[in-house]
Symmetry: C2
Subunit: 276 residues, 2 copies
């Protein structure tokens, strides 16, 4: 693992690191914010998964999360959204291939050799970070935006016990019923839709739910509102019933201006769970 940059921020350090990933069979880059408290001992960890077209960098510079992470003494991890490189398969569309890993392990050509983002985020990157930094991996929570909100919800429900709380900004809630989902799950996992179900937050909510609190924020002015299928998750949460806050925020869109507006709430929400 090599440092790319380390900048002092909010009393802690915002770092960027690269490493050779076994899961993705390429070099991967991630951002890690460590609060000042990490100089004295392991701190809880909040994962932040980004959306389509993003790298590790977008949320790291635009979401305003470090301010609140510093206040609560939390580490923040910003993984990339896919494998990268000239040898890695790609597609001309913005929503498939590099920048669009969808947090699944691809089984189909040409994606399978590198697109193993579930294993990368669920196993490889946590182990790497635990090895090199002062983090307490018994206290992890997860969040994300759009495709990353899908990732956060499905990882949280798919890995019972790993995360104490999950939140999401404008998450893709029901990808098996959306153009943001059917295309990618078909490409990465193949046409057998039974393989898709453990990558659909609404279906997982119907099946198992999450053993902890959930918070989602979605703007009523989101330009991609129909693709998110928020109503399906809301219904599944209420039917279960699952401990959750499904919030619709008047007039907000899909941008980082929306994300940063509610970041303070999300960090406070996760801090409550991580310090409980």
């Amino acid at each position: 693992m090599k440092p790319v940059s380390e900048n002092k921020a909010f009393g802690g350090v915002q770092g960027v690191y690269t490493h050779a990933s076994n899961a993705c069979a390429c070099d991967m880059t991630f951002g890690l914010f460590l609060p000042e408290e990490a100089q004295h001992g392991p701190v809880p960890v909040l994962w932040y998964l980004s959306g389509l077209t993003c790298t590790h960098e977008n949320a790291m510079v635009k979401a305003g999360a470090q301010s609140w992470a510093a206040e609560h003494g939390l580490a923040l991890v910003f993984p990339d959204t896919s494998p990268r490189g000239e040898d890695v398969a790609d597609d001309d569309a913005y929503d498939l291939g590099q920048g669009a890993g969808f947090y699944v392990n691809a089984s189909q050509k040409p994606w399978a050799p590198h697109f193993q983002m579930w294993d990368y985020v669920a196993e490889e990157l946590p182990a790497l970070i635990a090895e090199h930094f002062a983090v307490d991996m018994t206290r992890q929570s997860i969040s994300g935006h759009s495709m990353g909100g899908h990732g956060a919800l499905t990882l949280a429900m798919g890995l019972p016990g790993q995360f104490r709380s999950v939140s999401a900004f404008a998450p893709i809630c029901h990808p098996t019923a959306s153009e943001w989902g059917r295309k990618q799950l078909g490409a990465y996992l193949g046409p057998d839709e039974s393989k898709w179900t453990r990558h659909d937050a609404t279906l997982m909510m119907r099946e198992t739910g999450f053993d902890g609190p959930i918070l989602t924020d979605t703007g009523t002015g989101d330009q991609f509102y129909e693709l998110l299928q928020t109503h399906a998750l809301a219904e599944a949460v209420a039917k279960r019933p699952q401990q959750a806050q499904i919030r619709l925020q008047p007039g907000y869109d899909h941008s980082y201006f929306f994300v940063s507006t509610f970041m303070e709430d999300h960090l406070a929400f996760h801090a409550d769970a991580l310090y409980a």
Copy 2:
């Protein structure tokens, strides 16, 4: 004036607008954050001038200022750092020409026809914003980063009565004694150094000072520390003596991670002056 984008943010609106500038003789783009309070009446205004290579956009998306502006009910203006366009003179260097206007009115070829950033920020843009938005131009303050810190300090001291308070992040404090200054002032204003003095915060501090409070933050780990000449301004402030806080922040560099870390303090500082 045309809207480029308007995104709801922190209860208010982050807008981007373009207009034909008379001062710069080209189209200019600026960002404007209006807090929720602007829906009910005019709000005070904080100007934020950006540094070398920046457009209106960098601070707007990376400095985290809107959160605190919303808390204090302040508008934020993010002007561009120079005229732009194919017909506008430029230079291959990152620190001259487009993206590097230095907040002066150029008198020299090839810059004079468009590079009139002092007039643009001091007169044209305030008038335009006052005409179109719910802002109270009797309550203005100004801030900026690096070259923009230079701009904020020199505009504040050069326009007595226009700004109630001035702050800066890692400002270029003494451009007539720095490679970040001599090159640009020479190019834009010509070799007669007597024309440079009203664009040097240290010289202006020695001469006139500022009728209000000043706050500057500079990182001790700033990679451009020698270019900033912070010691010269600090000495001039102390000699005057001028009401001011000149703060050196341990370990911080020149990046937006540094800027965003201390943004909360700067917004509170300006709010104190604007609501006094």
